[in-house]
Amino acid sequence: MKGHDSSDLARERDASVHVTGLLTSAFTAISHKAHARGNECNINFKMQFMLLFSRQGKLRLQKWYVPLSDVQKKKISREVIQMVLARKPKMCSFLEWRDLKIVYKRYASLYFCCAVEDQENELITLEIIHRYVELLDKYFGSVCELDIIFNFEKAYYILDEFILGGEAQETSKKNVLKAIEQADMLQEEAETPRSVLEEIGLT
């Protein structure tokens, strides 16, 4: 099973380089520089990582709950993205990959993709993804891909309030949004208009 997957992957990787051409070339350039750590960490947390990427295979958000080197992260995300993009629309949302399960769901042009360990419940992972999308939707008000690009830090903050260290920490949507709003308020109190936002608005 796994053996086939890897060969399949290799094939798919070859096939779709052009899709992620930008990412891949950037990655390979860096992979020489970044120092790879010797021990491959195989710590299994509930959720290993979460990726958001567009239909073109561009990463929009990535969160890793396992300590991996940059090179490994890039390799993994590249593989996973290509694998998920190769899936046809009516296929089920679960994939077996290495010793992990990939659970993904597509919302409009964005793919939300989680890797959980083998014993994890796929349906609850799907639920987590959906919750997160709902949270984003509530926060931004019918969220779209651009919201996540321009306010990527907000998207991260929401994710961090929702999931901590690979575990869903708060199952109540209301509580998450409350925490985010209060933190935002604190931020506004503390400082004159946010410079990053300002720059986005102006330039």
């Binding site: 899709v19 300590p67 089920c92 949302s93 799907l126 991260y156 260290g165 920490q169 720059e199």
Partner: protein
């Protein structure tokens, strides 16, 4: 705009533009980072975070990130921590600098400062950070705000992983959090403990009653799923737990509407039932329930549910194949699904679906899929599955081996499959083990050899040519069945053969010799010896091609055989009869041997493999030997003999393990199929009893699928059998059969089907007293191994979490020391007093629990159900209630008590759970872990504990004296 520009499309013309843009951006950011204005810096760091996500290396800015992190303004701190959590990893050296900053933020009065720090920490915690901050985080677990408590509890798990020593000191508080008033904190604690317990379940068995209570009371699906999963991990260690679980789980299965919970329950019930193995009779009901629910999942239009249903079904299949088989129709239906992953899952299940009756039908269906399949992965999967299904449990389900051989031959038409060797080994296996089929197999193999060019379109990479290996060997070995050995011989010596891989050529050459022997045998008696001489001539003409082969094996065999043939030719010219002598070269029948047989031959008593047979040669002798022996093999031979004599059993076993590991890891290593190996080890064949087969099927021209007609033939044959058998109610039966086949529930039972040929499957031979070997190895690198810590042992002082002090602990001031000293002494006295009291208490325990029962009327509904359903077990329900009382006293001992309320099968009474003599209770204030919480240790543990206390007090007084002395000296 910065972010938008970065997201621009993947258009290649824009690519250069973008690369340029980014490099200017990075320059700009570098400038901004140099400024003193923190707002500008934070902005730059924010941009860097984005660039990092795009895959650019930003490790050079690590220090700037730390700067922003340490800003006092929340706005910047937030950005800083986000950047750190995205960019830092264990190798980042600046992390060392952050310890104090993080500690400051953790104790900040603003809960969001603390929250942000905790979130960040969860991403980049290192062993050092974990050690230094463990105590701070532990304190936060009792923070007033649930927001902080929740995060602190969750992050503790990461801390445990990085710094396992913190587990024991922190665990009591973590356990407290299971009963936190805030549901979020509670669920976080459940999460963490469940994660811990799943890795090292045996240390957490004592928590089972507590979790059981949570499970029956909680309504939060997220928590329920976690707990249920945990129980799945605990039950293999404690079978009685499984019995207790079945009922609440089945209740949940019935009642829940959440698919995720349902799925989890079904999974756990399956796991529990597997661990219980042959248990109580009413288990079949639970299995039926699971299968029914899974059927609903599979029938659902949602692909996800379908997939999961099939996945769970395959788990049931392992232990309860019967209950799955009744849903064969559904699973066959899934084979036609659009989704490949669903088809693959259904394929897994097919394995258990087959019977003698339907095997042909199912395989026929699979063959159709093979034809349709796009993509080699799926096709290869199909191929292996077909072979798996057919060959399972010694070809149990195959009634007609002619059919199977033709299926194998059809499979060779697959282009680009990687499983040539698999097909080949099947061919060999069947031909060797099923004597009656040899005639047919040889004929098929001969056609294969004749049409070898069809298989070897692109020789080097094509895995399918492995099949020729099997074909050549079968034709050679069983050549007496060949109709026209001359033609086959000719086919085997075609020049094209030289393009095949070496090991196949070697088999060709060797078997050409066998065929030669057969031809001689056949034609020698005849008056005209023309044919025999032609054959010798053919060999002499063609073999030189192989003598030139680069492959040593081929070369050696070819040159050997060519000399032999030349000699025979001479004899032939003198009209000497040689056939018998040549045939004698390949005499002897082969017996199949189990793949592991050699390994398992026991060493006879009194045989010492390590002992020298002769006097050990002196060093100088062995050196002398070297130059004498021949060039090529000189190095190899002495080495080999050495090894065999020196290495003992253990060492061998270890090496075997290592080798296996290596082979498993080496993607280039193709595992040799056992049957193809033994082929060469054994001597040739003499007279195999030829079983006459009535070949009702004409041999087929290659290229035409022919297995199908076997299905029809088989059908006819079976009907004929049937008709012969039961002439009396012939008509009736036939009608039924006709209907039955379509509905897949024919009245015909398995036993009714007799195999077409009375084939004798020679079972593989094993040495008499072979031992079953189980190679069980755990991953030594598993980080969770470090967390395999006994949590019921009392906490020693040395295990306290390091608290931040200005000086190392050893140099404490004398005043402090005295305080420390006095506490243990006091408590020591206390403990000895209380010991006696507690002993009495323990005896009264049961009485008291009964009284409590009367007082407490708030029982959980599920428990009441339990009671009602098992009225005869009145004593048990009492215990269940006792469990419902908050677990203030020794839970470990309660576990036995609690569990014993379930009927115990005699086998389960021998348990691994050892809680030894009656536990004593002493107050834990000594360990300053949790107030008023009682702790249980065994007498031996107690004495150890007391001695350690004494030692500590001695140490502290000694230190105090030393300090006083030093102080006196200095002043």
């Amino acid at each position: 705009c910065f972010y938008f520009r970065l997201t621009l499309s993947n258009n290649t013309s824009l690519f250069l533009q973008q690369a340029k843009y980014i490099s200017t951006c990075i320059d700009e950011i570098k400038q901004e980072l140099k400024q003193d204005n923190i707002a500008v810096k934070a902005n730059a760091v924010c941009k860097l975070t984005y660039l990092q996500m795009l895959g650019y290396d930003v490790s050079w800015a690590a220090f700037n990130i730390v700067e922003v992190m340490s800003s006092s303004k929340f706005t910047y701190k937030r950005i800083g921590y986000l950047a750190a959590s995205q960019c830092f990893h264990e190798g980042t050296d600046v992390i060392m600098l952050t310890t104090n900053q993080i500690r400051k933020d953790l104790s900040s009065p603003n809960q969001y400062d603390t929250g942000v720090a905790l979130t960040g920490l969860s991403c980049f915690v290192t062993p050092d950070l974990a050690r230094d901050l463990a105590n701070d985080i532990m304190t936060l677990m009792s923070h007033t705000k649930p927001y902080i408590r929740k995060k602190a509890v969750l992050i503790m798990y990461k801390v445990f992983l990085k710094y396992p020593e913190s587990l024991r000191p922190a665990f009591p508080r973590l356990k407290e959090k299971l009963e936190d008033p805030d549901p979020g904190v509670q669920s976080a604690a459940v999460n963490v403990i469940c994660e811990l317990a799943r890795r090292n379940p045996k240390n957490y068995l004592s928590l089972a009653p507590l979790f059981f209570k949570l499970m029956t009371s909680s309504t939060n699906n997220w928590v329920l799923i976690k707990i249920i999963k945990l129980f799945g991990a605990l039950t293999p260690l404690e079978p009685r737990l499984g019995k207790k679980l079945i009922e609440p789980l089945t209740n949940l299965i019935h009642s829940t509407s959440a698919m995720s919970l349902l799925y989890e329950c079904v999974n756990t019930v399956i796991a529990v039932l597997i661990s219980l193995s042959s248990g109580m009779p009413n288990h079949s009901a639970s299995i039926q329930l699971c299968v029914q629910k899974l059927r609903i999942l599979i029938e659902d239009s949602d692909q996800n549910l379908k997939y999961l249903g099939l996945l769970a079904m395959s788990k049931i299949l392992k232990t309860h194949p019967k209950s799955v088989q009744s849903h064969k129709d559904l699973i066959l239906q899934c084979l036609d699904d659009k989704d490949e992953s669903i088809r693959l899952r259904a394929l897994d299940l097919l394995y258990g679906m087959v019977s003698k009756k339907n095997l042909m039908e199912i395989v026929k269906k699979l063959m159709l899929h093979v034809d349709k399949a796009e993509g080699t992965t799926y096709r290869d999967e199909l191929l292996t599955k077909i072979i798996d299904i057919c060959s399972q449990s010694n070809y149990q389900y195959i009634t007609n081996f002619e059919w199977y051989i033709s299926i194998l031959v059809e499979l060779t038409r697959l282009e680009g499959t990687r499983h040539g060797h698999l097909i080949a080994s099947q061919m060999l296996d069947v031909a060797i083990r099923v004597k009656a089929i040899r005639g047919f197999a040889v004929a098929q193999m001969a056609t294969l050899l004749d049409n070898a060019h069809l298989l070897t379109g692109n020789t080097q990479r094509n895995g399918i040519c492995e099949v020729l290996y099997a074909a050549a060997w079968i034709c050679g070995e069983f050549s007496e069945h060949l109709e026209d050995p001359m033609q086959t011989l000719e086919a085997m010596l075609r020049p094209k053969v030289a393009t095949l891989p070496g090991h196949i050529q070697a088999v060709y050459v060797q078997n050409a010799a066998k065929l030669f022997a057969t031809v001689l045998q056949k034609h020698e008696g005849e008056t005209d010896s023309q044919v025999a001489q032609e054959t010798s001539q053919l060999l002499i003409e063609r073999l030189p091609l192989f003598v030139q082969s680069a492959n040593l094996e081929v070369q050696e065999r070819a040159s050997c055989i060519i000399q032999l043939v030349k000699y025979i030719q001479k004899l032939q010219q003198k009209n000497v009869e040689v056939a018998d002598e040549v045939t004698a070269l390949f005499a002897g029948e082969l017996n199949p041997v189990a793949p592991k047989a050699q390994k398992k031959v026991p060493i006879p008593e009194g045989l010492d493999l390590d002992a020298w047979i002769n006097e050990p040669p002196s060093e100088s002798e062995s050196e002398d030997e070297k130059p004498k022996s021949k060039a090529v093999f000189a190095k190899e031979e002495p080495k080999h003999s050495r090894r065999h004599t020196e290495v003992d059993e253990k060492e061998l076993a270890r090496r075997r393990e290592v080798r296996k590991q290596e082979q498993a890891n080496n993607p280039f290593y193709i595992k040799a199929s056992p049957s193809s190996q033994k082929v060469f080890d054994a001597p040739g064949v003499e007279h195999i009893p030829v079983v006459q087969i009535d070949l009702s099927v004409p041999l087929k021209v290659p290229g035409m699928p022919m297995s199908d007609q076997y299905v029809k033939l088989e059908e006819e044959r079976r009907q004929k059998d049937k008709a012969d058998k039961k002439k009396k109610d012939k008509k009736k039966k036939r009608e039924k059969r006709g209907k039955g086949r379509k509905a897949d529930s024919g009245p015909e039972s398995e036993e009714d089907i007799t195999p077409a040929q009375q084939v004798d499957i020679v079972t593989e031979e094993m040495p008499e007293n072979a031992l079953p070997s189980d190679d069980d190895d755990k991953d030594p690198n598993d980080p969770h191994k470090a967390l395999d810590i006994d949590l019921d042992k009392p906490l020693a002082d040395s295990e306290k979490l390091p608290v931040r002090t200005h000086r190392p602990e050893v140099l404490k001031s004398p005043a402090e020391d005295r305080e420390n000293e006095s506490i243990p002494q006091e408590s020591k006295k206390k403990s000895s007093k209380e010991k006696k009291e507690k002993k009495k208490d323990k005896e009264k325990d049961r009485k008291r629990s009964k009284e409590e029962k009367k007082k407490k009327k708030k029982h959980k509904e599920v428990e009441e159900e339990l009671m009602e359903s098992q009225p005869e077990e009145a004593v048990q329900s009492e215990d269940t209630k006792e469990m419902a009382v908050p677990p203030t006293s020794a839970e470990a001992s309660d576990l036995d008590f609690w569990l014993s309320s379930a009927p115990v099968p005699p086998a389960a009474q021998v348990r691994s759970l050892t809680l030894s003599p009656p536990p004593l209770l002493i107050p834990l204030s000594v360990c300053r872990v949790v107030n008023e919480r009682l702790f249980c240790i065994s007498p031996s543990g107690l004495s150890r504990f007391l001695t350690s206390l004494c030692l500590f007090s001695l140490l502290f007084t000694g230190l105090a004296h030393f300090c006083l002395f030093a102080y006196a000296c200095f002043s």
